[in-house]
């Protein structure tokens, strides 16, 4: 057991932070905000290019695929820093969902074709999983792919396609055998967004981020766009879900919100008293501090288990539940501490913490039901972690 970052890890953390301090400019952030419902702009593209030039999109990949073979712990440190510094979001779908699936299940041709452009951030992916009638019960999905000569012909509809409008490709779960039991007729394929027959419709969300419905109308892709074996997609898909949970379980942003909130309370006088001196506020902050520490340790635990080659499905679920519910709690408590000021959003000059708490409050539900609802996560902890019987 060892509860410190090593010197090398501390240096890495510092390197990431220095890099981010340099590349995050007000202009970049303004552009990102401006484009948040559209395509990425030149500054954001340049920001991502710099990351890709460092090799950081593939930092955790094996060397044989051109990765830096850094540890899961290093990858966690990177992600936490990105969140903590409020850097523009870096999609993990290509490098951490699609790529590991390719390592494990892809053919040599699959790997040759798709890994380099992911590594270089030329290809961006959206997760084509959920459908109107298949959310939590993902295995019931109905979007179909039928082989016609050398091409798959895809028909159907996906929802909650959060990066659809700024991705080059879909990482798509389709039904390839409608007669098989539901988990055994699913395949994974990659579909270019510019293929004829793909239509995108914006869905607006409470959290203010854009998501999309994607319609597939006789969309044709080469046979080789199938990843792994036909009808074995469920295994690929569920393996990738663990990774998504670890990412959704990140608490870097929440930690930053908390620190900013403490700072605010230390220099703000309301009703004749410094906020930090109010006992009820102090106790709430102390309570949050403890839970943030738990969230942080859950993150490090998951990373160290990955590095040791252990199964993390229960731990990833636990981490995801804890961090996402804490996200609600920090923003909820925080807004209460801000009292009437908690109402102001980022467009108001007087909004404390630039309105970040109310934004996080609205984003929190997305994290709680996304990546598998927290109810399903608790089932996983109980069944896989504790070995309780299924119904």
């Amino acid at each position: 057991m060892e509860f410190h970052l090593t010197k090398e890890q501390l240096a890495w953390k510092q390197e990431v932070r220095n890099f981010l301090k340099e590349v995050i400019t007000p202009e970049l952030l303004a552009e990102v905000e401006r484009n948040k419902r559209g395509k990425d702009g030149p500054l954001e593209r340049n920001y991502r290019k710099q990351i890709s030039e460092k090799g950081w999109y593939s930092m955790h990949w094996p060397k044989e695929y051109g990765g830096l073979e850094m540890s899961a712990m290093d990858y966690l440190i990177f992600n936490e820093e990105v969140a903590y510094m409020g850097a523009p979001f870096i999609s993990n779908i290509g490098p951490s969902i699609v790529a590991p699936s390719l390592f494990k299940f892809g053919s040599e041709e699959n790997k040759r074709k798709w890994l380099p452009p992911i590594k270089n951030n030329e290809f961006d992916f959206a997760l084509g999983y959920s459908e109107p009638n298949s959310g939590t019960d993902l295995a019931s999905l109905q979007t179909s792919a039928v082989l016609d000569g050398d091409e798959w012909v895809i028909n159907g509809q996906k929802v909650w396609n959060s990066f659809g409008h700024r991705s080059t490709h879909q990482w798509l779960a389709v039904r390839t055998d409608p007669s098989a039991p539901k988990h055994r007729g699913i395949s994974m394929m990659i579909v270019p967004m510019d293929a004829p027959g793909v239509t995108i419709v914006e869905q607006k969300t409470w959290g203010g981020h854009r998501t999309n419905e994607i319609f597939f109308d006789n969309v044709r892709v080469p046979k080789a766009n199938l990843i792994g074996e036909v009808n074995r997609g469920w295994l690929i898909l569920t393996t990738a879900l663990d990774h998504e949970r670890v990412v959704m379980g990140s608490s870097g942003r929440t930690q930053r919100n908390f620190e900013d909130l403490v700072k605010f309370c230390k220099h703000t006088v309301i009703d004749g008293e410094l906020l930090i001196n109010k006992p009820e506020i102090r106790m709430k902050l102390a309570e949050l501090k403890v839970e943030l520490e738990v969230a942080r340790l859950f993150g490090y635990r998951a990373a160290s288990m990955i590095d040791l080659g252990k199964d993390i499905s229960s731990e990833a679920s636990m981490m995801k539940v804890f961090a996402t519910e804490l996200r609600t709690k920090v923003s909820d408590y925080g807004m209460q501490i801000l009292d009437l000021y908690g109402q102001l959003n980022k467009d108001d000059d007087l909004a404390p913490l630039q309105g970040e708490l109310e934004q996080q409050y609205r984003l929190a539900p997305f994290h709680r039901f996304g990546g598998g609802t927290n109810e399903v996560q608790r089932n996983i902890v109980a069944q896989r972690g504790l070995g309780l019987p299924r119904r």
Partner: protein, 376 residues
Amino acid sequence: MMNMEYSDDQLMMQETSRKFFEREVSPQLVKELQEPEHSGHSSSLWEKMANIGWLGVHIPEKYNGAGGTLVDLGILFEEAGRVLVPTTLYSTIYASLLIDALGTHEQKKTYLSRIAAGKMISGVAYAEKEALHNPDCFKTVARKVKDKWILTGEKMFVQNAHLADELIVIARSENDDGKEGLTAFLVPNQAEGVSMKEQKTFGKDRQSVVKFTDVELDITHVLGNRTEEAEEGLAVAMNQATALQCLEMVGGARKVIDMTVKYVSERHQFGVPIGSFQAVQHHLANMATAVDGSRLLAYQAVSLLSEGLAAEDEVAMAKAYAGEAYKSVTVMAHQLWGGMGYVTESDLYLWSNRAKATELSFGTRDLHLKKLANNL
């Protein structure tokens, strides 16, 4: 006899108002009014409410009101809360309660009649930049110069100031004998020296920073013609408005539960309605319990106040509990609706926003718990 069920009259009030609001106030309307290009207010709805007598439910008949009780008004608030009636209703009623508590007969006749008739929108200007709940820290002051009062200062989070015909402004004042206290001024929106800037809130309700630069007011603008003595009446009206808001919150929370029950009963996953999962059922049972508790506390507070009894603790209990309940209900509703409730198309977020906004107004949970602690 102790009885937590509506009387026949109350039941009728509830049924009529629910029917009216469900017909007149759709989520679509609520959304539209919240858009920046709208004022947040609907004149046609306002007129209909005035015609049916609901802007004066509690206003004495002699001032053209319906002469009902605060409980009747509470029922209206609960039903209004269900459908998210625009906040001009609440801010104007709050002002009316303050006028009723402090005003002279003349003032009541003028202003309450206008409110009952739907001819006046109002709100109360209380909080300041560094003084949200403690008037001792107010910097807005009124100085007496001959027979005029000169009002100077800045108020924040003033509900519907942009629409108000008259605002009621709470200021510190000092009279000739050096006696200091609070005074409530009726300040016409158009008075010279009044300027305002809208604040941006996530709830899309309309609140403003209102600045008073040497605004000149005569005695007719002093509520009750009494200066330095507004504390008590202010406490009464604020307690009433807080208790009423609790019922607005209860109405909203109950509506969210109703919608969620419907959703989880219809939405199927794994071949069954998701409402048949035990985890879903227990979430909803907890939500219903929190809201039933809030409702009883809120009606208790309103009912005691309606009889003119002190109910400081009862109001504090109601607000401390209802704030947490309404918010938690919306948080859990999002959990149960998943993506379907998160897209704005579903309208669920309208209640989520209002839940959080009401939690933060009239004092958070901690403020009310502290009041209770002081009375232990």
